[in-house]
């Protein structure tokens, strides 16, 4: 056998997705709204299904409803719908019990821009 070990250190510019990537690091849900049909996508779609490519960045409030959830050795993931978005998102679940069907975008920790859904914050309002 020929043993050959490769280590790859990528340095990836975020390109057009920079607002989305920077938002995740801050715990912000930065989505893209189509300037033609106002459809809002998260993760952002550069070209809208309506055919338009012009869009604006908008911040959603970060709350999402779980539509389908899967748990197992690969971890816990879900297909969710963020409030204000027209598209669903695939997210990693963090500390969300199976009976919790609403969560909030968590700040992405570490070097990778991860879409993580954690528990809703307790309201500070009376």
């Amino acid at each position: 056998m020929i043993d050959h070990r490769l280590v790859l250190d990528y340095h990836l510019p975020p390109g057009w997705m920079a607002p989305f990537v920077e938002g995740l690091a801050q715990g912000q849900t930065i989505a893209r709204r189509c300037e033609d049909c106002a459809r809002t996508s998260f993760p952002p779609l550069r070209s809208c299904p309506c055919g338009a490519s012009a869009g604006a960045w908008v911040e959603l409030d970060g709350t999402a409803q779980i539509i389908h959830r899967t748990d197992g050795q690969d971890g816990s993931f879900a297909l969710v719908l963020f409030d204000g978005a027209a598209t669903h998102s695939v997210v990693r679940l963090d500390n969300l019990a199976p009976d919790q069907n609403i969560g909030r975008l968590a700040k992405s920790t570490g070097p990778l821009p991860q879409i993580i859904l954690g528990p809703e914050l307790e309201s500070s309002h009376p």
Binding site: T70, G72, Q73, F77, L112, Q114
Partner: protein, 393 residues
Amino acid sequence: MTSNPKVIVAGAALTPFNRRKDASNFRDWAYHAFDAALTMSALKRADIDALFVASESDFFTMQLNPASILASDLGLVGAAITRCEGGGASGQIAVHAAARAIQSGSAARVAVVGVDPSASQLSGDTVRALYGFSFDAWTDGMTGVSSSALYALSYQAFQARFGGTDAHLAAVTMQNRANARDNPGAHLPRDDTGQDIADSPMIAAPYRRLHCSPLSDGAAALILSNASALPESRKAAPEIAGMGAANDTLHLGARGDPGQFTAKTRAMKRACAEAGISPEQIGLAEVYDAYAGAQLQAISALGLSDDVFRDLDAGTFAPDGRCPVNLSGGLMGQGAPVGATGVGQTATCALLLEGRYHAALQPKHAPQYAVADTHGGICTTSAVTVLKQGGAR
């Protein structure tokens, strides 16, 4: 207006799909598959105008230009060479590219070789991490979602709309693995029971380990030819009657219905239109069963059933059913060396139509039409090929 030349499957061969432990590598497997297909075709190396190679990832082969190295190994220096990539659909995309080259008149006799070392060269965890970048590496990939989790979420959406139980997933699993027992080249020939499946580890609910296809090594090859460029002995072999391809939105969540394999439906319609048939005329199918539920989603999307759970219960897709599905064992039973998968599915259909497949799996009466269905991502890239019985039968 002149019609396209008839594309004949003059040669078809697969190596065993499994985890190699014999110190052989992808260049050996590609050579053996090509050599066997060429022998079946009754052609010689010098007859081959072009080579199309399917390999999903340079990470697997550690070779940035696999078509060049394989052309040298196969004795095809001087031929036109192309490497095709479309994720899991790479092999079927190569079949299409090769057949279109013949139809266009740019080549008369073409070799297609699909190969990938998906099992023995890298650790399973490394391969699974790479597969995670088969989707959108910049969003889903960064989040770390696995292929199994994405397929599980898609199947849950399918179930929410059409129903289905754990028993249906078990039925697909047991049938494919049972078929694989009669395929000497299969990776997982097993007598799984419902209890075995229920006891296997949960990977991504509802998928347990036994609902998943394995990582495999292997190669498959085809020799396609303009009918007029073949010796008499091969002119009546099965033909490629129709091809269709389509893609879908990359993000599962951006699709109108994340449980529907819409690209597959589009690709099948295009393939059937080219063949001049309807899906009801398909008499056997090799479909892309990366997971047990994906087989059910595929059958539905291809239009092979308007109620896949009812027809599964009725035995429609069993070896003696109206439309046997995955007689080879499919990805779940035969195995899944990615680049080889689509080429192998088409090779299997051709061998079954010609009556040259493994005897225990050969239908008593070969049907008129078969379909080979392959996709990449979570049916993001779909490629479907309809094969037609040759003139000799």
